[in-house]
């Protein structure tokens, strides 16, 4: 039962991770290679997924695109965890006090800025680019992890083993990191998977409107944007990157659901 969503999830995620990793050492063709003569080629034995309007190999573009998407989303989740988790733990350790209130109100403030708006502001100032996309999505992730860690830590602070640790003379920081954090790791992993999939969607959206990775680095979102005017002529150019995004996000969501069931049976959704 619990493997029902875990296995397809792992399978899909593995395909795209392997493609991304493989692209560091090998792609069928060079993605910067423009060959106008062989543009719009249908899939064949040379170009497995055909070529685009510049004659670039679609499979190679998708492989490098996977790398861009995954890299942006992973770093953005990392930023969210790196800042969000300690903030959440600090808020829980100081529950009801000023620090807790300040952190939670800071969270509300960041929640008021959807990732796209953060990206728009950063881009307006510093120009578009993959790094700015990472920062925008990363900032958006911070309150998500802060809230989650605070909520989970609050219930742990009432438990007996924490009382024992306090009685042993440990201060709140040590308790937070030595006892609370290990007990919320499963939750963080599950939420991390979900934020990862949202990060892939956000990166694709930002690249689609020109705020993400810039040429010549291929990204799924920009491949879609490029294909928009060619959709009548060659729908394949729009279908492939879209499917890549859909399957990766679907895989991550299934993986997240499966992990939740597998790591913590108490969290298993009974429905």
């Amino acid at each position: 039962m619990k493997l029902r969503s875990l296995l397809p999830g792992v399978f899909l995620v593995l395909i795209f991770f392997s493609a991304a990793l493989l692209s560091y050492i090998w792609t069928p063709f060079d993605v910067t290679l423009i060959d106008i003569k062989s543009r719009f080629q249908a899939p064949d034995t040379t170009h497995w997924l055909g070529t685009d309007h510049y004659g670039r190999d679609m499979l190679s573009m998708l492989m490098v695109g996977a790398r861009t998407s995954i890299a942006v989303a992973i770093v953005a989740v990392g930023i969210g965890m790196l800042f969000g988790v300690p903030l959440g733990l600090a808020a829980a350790a100081n529950r009801g006090r000023f620090l807790d209130e300040a952190i939670m109100r800071g969270n509300d403030l960041v929640f008021a800025f959807p990732a796209l708006l953060i990206a728009i502001m950063i881009t307006a100032v510093y120009g578009p680019g993959a790094v700015n996309a990472i920062i925008a999505i990363g900032i958006f992730n911070i309150p998500v992890f802060a809230r989650l860690s605070r909520g989970a830590a609050l219930s742990l602070w009432k438990r007996d083993f924490i009382l024992a640790a306090r009685a042993a003379g440990k201060n709140t920081t040590r308790i937070s990191f030595e006892h609370i954090l290990p007990n919320i790791t499963n939750l963080l992993i599950v939420q991390g998977t979900i934020q990862f999939s949202l990060g892939i969607l956000a990166e694709a959206g930002l690249s689609f409107v020109g705020l993400g990775a810039q040429p010549p680095i291929p990204s799924w979102g920009r491949m879609l944007a490029d294909s928009q005017t060619l959709i009548m002529l060659e729908p394949r150019l729009a279908l492939l990157p879209g499917l890549a995004i859909l399957l990766t996000v679907l895989g991550l969501n299934l993986l997240g659901d499966g992990l939740r069931d597998w790591l913590d049976p108490r969290l298993r959704r009974e429905r």
Partner: protein, 315 residues
Amino acid sequence: MLRYLFKRSLILLATLFVASLVVFITIEVVPGDPASYMLGLNAQEDTVAALRAELGLDKSKPARYISWVSGLLTGDFGTSYTYRTPVADMVRDRMWVSLPLAIFALLLSTIIAFPAGVYAASHRGGITDTIVMAFTQLGVAIPNFWFAMLLVLLFAIKLSWFSAGGFPGWDAGFFQALKSLTLPAIALALPQASILTRVMRSSLLDVLNEDFMRTARAKGLTRRKALWKHALRNAMIPVLTIIGLQFSFLLAGAIIIENVFYLPGLGRLIFQSIASRDLIVVESVVMLLVMAVVLVTFAVDLAYAWVDPRLRGTR
């Protein structure tokens, strides 16, 4: 309730104040001077100075912040650097596209999610439930701008039922305008409908397990009657919350969808303004969208506390 209202209002004002500071400071650190950018490289120094004075750029930063915020409060958003027209007029025109689009999408997502969620919950574990849940998995994974492109491919290019983009304006007739918003609204609504279906289903399942439902059945109500009379009303609280929160997501999500369909809404305005370095427009539109998100969240919080008094004490 009054105390809760007072506290939440204070937090609302503080959030808006800090948000306005964040927006202002972020945009104001931009290097370069809009006046010299507007007049080009060969502009005379006194002309630049005159334009700076006209745009209020010669004032100190705090003075500019105060005049920007007081302008926002009175509906005067300043003058666009590029078009030299009041930003408020530009925003008002574009709002008539973005707002109806968001409302249209919200209605669609509710109309889809409601029956789907109720049906899935009342036939839990059945084949329809499985199919509905599989569709919602796809719905949350699909990028809405890609779905928008597929809609264009099918309904505009292959079937010619709708136009592929553009907006004729409300003067061209209500239904004509609504028709051009239909595909964008469907694209925006799909992921939200998937989320809402899941919330509706799980909220209803929670309620169906409650004791009062057993009592309702025990006193002789049929499954259907118990569902309609008792379960739905109680399951609605979380659903309404999500519907409220989705409105702000839709407003922000419209930024990308408007670009797919070349709709002259706030999203297009923002990107055009970034391209032409018309930062006063970016600043004001971003702040307006943030205000919309904060106000909707505030309204949802209040509605929630009003319906469920237990929430007033906690935060």
